[in-house]
């Protein structure tokens, strides 16, 4: 139980999913053009991550002991159906929230950060609470990276940038600099 805060900070800053592990880059580069949508997408992803962490733990503990080679297929099916289920649930319970999230909910299925989270948590042998805290840290870290890039891109829209560098090339270079900044957290603690 002592290492819960460290797991959280590690997933949030030191081993940030987007800027250090390169997971979830498609939404990171695709939808980070406005602060509001990226914050919303980040929250939705965090939520799916939490549910996935719980499902992965249940699967690992009760089902996959008997058939480890089915791990990947099980995880991907569980994630896809969870996202579908959450989508239906939100649609039923709160149509306003559903409209606000729009297309981003179904797209979360193909976000490799989610599958990555399930696989990393399994490889490290995290228990129930550790998995949840890890998912929370990873999700908030994802949101943080997304919001930071969106803020920078909104600023960049207003300045005059050579036509040549606009678009993905510029976003990648901004992301590179952000990633360099996050490397500063690397010495925060020594037990990764």
């Amino acid at each position: 139980m002592d290492n819960l805060p460290w797991i959280f900070i590690s997933a949030l800053l030191v081993n940030n999913f987007v800027l250090t592990y390169f997971l979830g880059l498609c939404p990171f580069l695709g939808v980070s053009n406005s602060l509001e949508t990226s914050a919303r997408l980040g929250l939705a992803t965090t939520f799916v991550m939490l549910v996935t962490a719980v499902c992965a733990w249940v699967l690992n503990t009760y089902v996959l002991i008997h058939a480890p080679y089915l791990r990947l297929i099980c995880f991907i099916v569980v994630i896809a159906s969870t996202v579908q289920f959450i989508e239906m649930l939100i649609k039923k319970l709160s149509p306003a929230l559903f409209r606000a999230m729009g297309i981003f909910l179904p797209l979360i299925t193909t976000n490799c950060a989610i599958l990555g989270l399930a696989i990393f948590a399994t490889n490290r042998g995290y228990g129930f609470w550790e998995g949840i805290v890890y998912a929370l840290g990873a999700g908030i870290g994802f949101t943080l990276a997304l919001v930071l890039l969106a803020g920078l891109r909104e600023e960049a829209e207003l300045s005059s940038i050579p036509k040549l560098i606009q678009g993905t090339a510029m976003n990648l270079i901004i992301a590179g600099i952000l990633s360099m900044a996050f490397m500063g957290f690397a010495g925060l603690f020594s037990s990764t």
Binding site: F22, G24, I165, A175
Partner: protein
């Protein structure tokens, strides 16, 4: 004529619609495993196998897969091939497998593969689908290799583990760390933009000249 079309599909993936440089798909493995040329090539081969295998299967079954559940079917087919690739790499090259780590199972979530199944393999006959997959996968492999080679040469002074520059070379360590991936790909895309820019300019000049000539 049929041969021509196959060739067309192949070359499209390698150059004109290169999955990484032109469509910016499959970025996650692209950046994560390209810190050395060996890893990049291993990843490229694994993706090649998965993409070609699943394109073949999806295209063969395209008339039997119900439209409503097609995405799930594609994903299960892809996941099967990824599992095969995972265990094969573990058996043949355990060292590389260890370095690639979680990124081999993550091929499942590579949007390039699912994208090809949805956009191409599920609509065209098997032969064309396989050619398309081979082209796309070769393009992806080339992109991975060029990024991996640049990063390894700059960051480690070596290529495939062979030192290139002798003892006085000061490695540019940042290039094999995460930021280097973003920066290198950014610069390569910049180069591609420049190329396209020049080409458009040239075509415009030609059109202009033709108009004034008549």
């Amino acid at each position: 004529m049929k041969n021509n079309q196959s060739y067309e599909e192949f070359i499209k993936g390698v150059w004109r619609d290169n999955p990484v440089f032109a469509q910016v798909l499959g970025m996650c493995p692209m950046l994560a495993v390209t810190n050395s040329a060996v890893n990049a090539v291993a990843m490229g081969m694994a993706t090649f196998f998965v993409l070609v295998g699943s394109s073949f299967l999806v295209s063969s079954f395209r008339n039997w897969i119900p439209k409503q559940v097609r995405i799930s079917c594609f994903i299960i087919i892809i996941a099967t091939f990824v599992t095969i690739a995972d265990y094969t790499l573990l058996a043949l090259v355990p060292k590389v497998h260890k370095e690639l780590g979680a990124f081999i199972p993550l091929i499942v979530a590579n949007c390039l593969i699912l994208g090809r199944q949805e956009a191409f393999a599920s609509r065209y006959p098997t032969r064309l689908a396989v050619m398309d997959a081979v082209g796309m996968a070769t393009g992806f492999l080339l992109a991975l290799f060029s990024l991996g080679a640049v990063r390894e040469i700059l960051g480690d002074g070596a290529l495939f583990g062979v030192k290139l520059f002798g003892a006085n070379f000061e490695p540019w360590v940042i290039m094999i760390l995460p930021p280097g991936g973003f920066l290198t790909l950014g610069v390569i895309l910049l180069f591609f933009n420049w190329f396209k820019f020049k080409k458009d300019e040239f075509l415009e000049d030609v059109a202009e000249a033709e108009r004034s000539g008549h």
